[in-house]
Amino acid sequence: MRNGVTVLESIELMITLVRARLEYTLEPVSDLAENLSKNKELKNLPFLQECAALCREGADFPLAWSKSVSHLSRLTFSRQVSEYLDGFGKALGSTDVSGQLSCCDMYLALFSACRKEQIKKQEKAAKLYPPLGFLGGMAALIFLI
């Protein structure tokens, strides 16, 4: 569960980086993928490397992104997160700069909400586990007696 929050934080960082690069360098998306894949801060998002590799082989960016997200989503992300990621990839590069920046802001808000929800779940679980453990222990004790 902690891993889920870390991944979501990395995704938010990735979108912030994308936003900055789109705003200041107007980089094409394939170059963007290449640069993101080399970023050490984003090493826990392995789909970026796969996407960059597919782009290098000449695949169309939306296809490369979709493919790499779907390959890894079952292992790393929840269904909702992978849907958001897929949508973000499809929107990337499809409009002018202001459209791209708005899109980044929207997905940042969505992923941020996901992360907060994940943290809430963690906290809830943290409160739930000690009483559960205590009850379990008591049950085991009664059973042994």
């Binding site: 789109l22 107007l26 980089e27 998306v29 394939s30 169309d60 590069g93 499809s94 700069v97």
Partner: protein, 345 residues
Amino acid sequence: MKNGQFETAAGVTGDRIKNLLCALPDSIKSQIREIRLRCNKPLVLTCAGVPQFLYSPARLSPVFSSNAVTVSKKELDEIFLRLCSFSVHSHSRSLTEGCITLDGGHRAGVFGTAVCENGKIVAVRDVACINIRVSHEIFGAADEIYRSVFSNSLPSVIVAGPPASGKTTLLRDLARQLSGKSRGRFIRTVLCDERNELAAVRNSVAFNDVGENCDVLTGYPKAEGILLAVRSLSPQVIICDEVGTDEEIAAMEAGFNSGVSFIVSIHASTRRELLSKPQMHRLLSSGIFEKAVLLSDENRPCEIKDIFEAEDLLCEICGTGYDSGGVRTFGQICGSNRAQRRYGA
């Protein structure tokens, strides 16, 4: 034409159309100048100056029938995104100017519904037609002009011609011949390649051969590029495609005063059209240019139709031709720097 050059241009059309185009015989592919794609309409290729329709299995015909290959809206949208390398934001400026340059120096005209703000196009939506102009790098295209004009000197020259007459191809080959090993002159050349169609630079590497001693300024607005080049690269000659604004002419004047020669191109089909163009008047009046070269037409790309002395053209424009009894102080009348210098006017 370079191997694979047509395939690079066809590559953006998507698998279905690309496979048909690439299956055409090489002899036909080398003659294709344009690929015209329109929403829900048949694909038209301009082959040897004639519009031809594409049929499956791969064949061309100038006769239209209902089974000609058509382009769907979805395909056109995909082609548009592919032209932008799926990065519309990187091509906003090119789109408002109506032309995107592809890898390999091919140019795609993209048109749809314009979004305007204060009378200026700020975006294009609902793309309805795309015209891909296939770039042709022809080694030796500038042999004739080199022999006639540049063999012993380095004058400033205007290259004029109708659309698809090979102006860009000729400028590219001229850059290669002036700055490259083929002639051994290694003239310091700067290519002001605002739309990246001359050198076709990708990841800092020029796809087209523009010579060993040539610096390429990609994406710089021509006026700024010229001034920067004059300031920092000390060129002997600057080559630009399609010039004519006041800023560009002012920049060229600054360069000319620093001893730089210019080779530029301009659209004009005939001598009459050449003379009637206001930007031609401005270019000639600047006094920078010594000669104007008029190219033939799209059926004979890069072939020289005529070479004119700039001063003769200027006299004709000003109505002070040598034969008409006009006084040879046209420098004063037309404000020609070169004429003023020559005649002390």
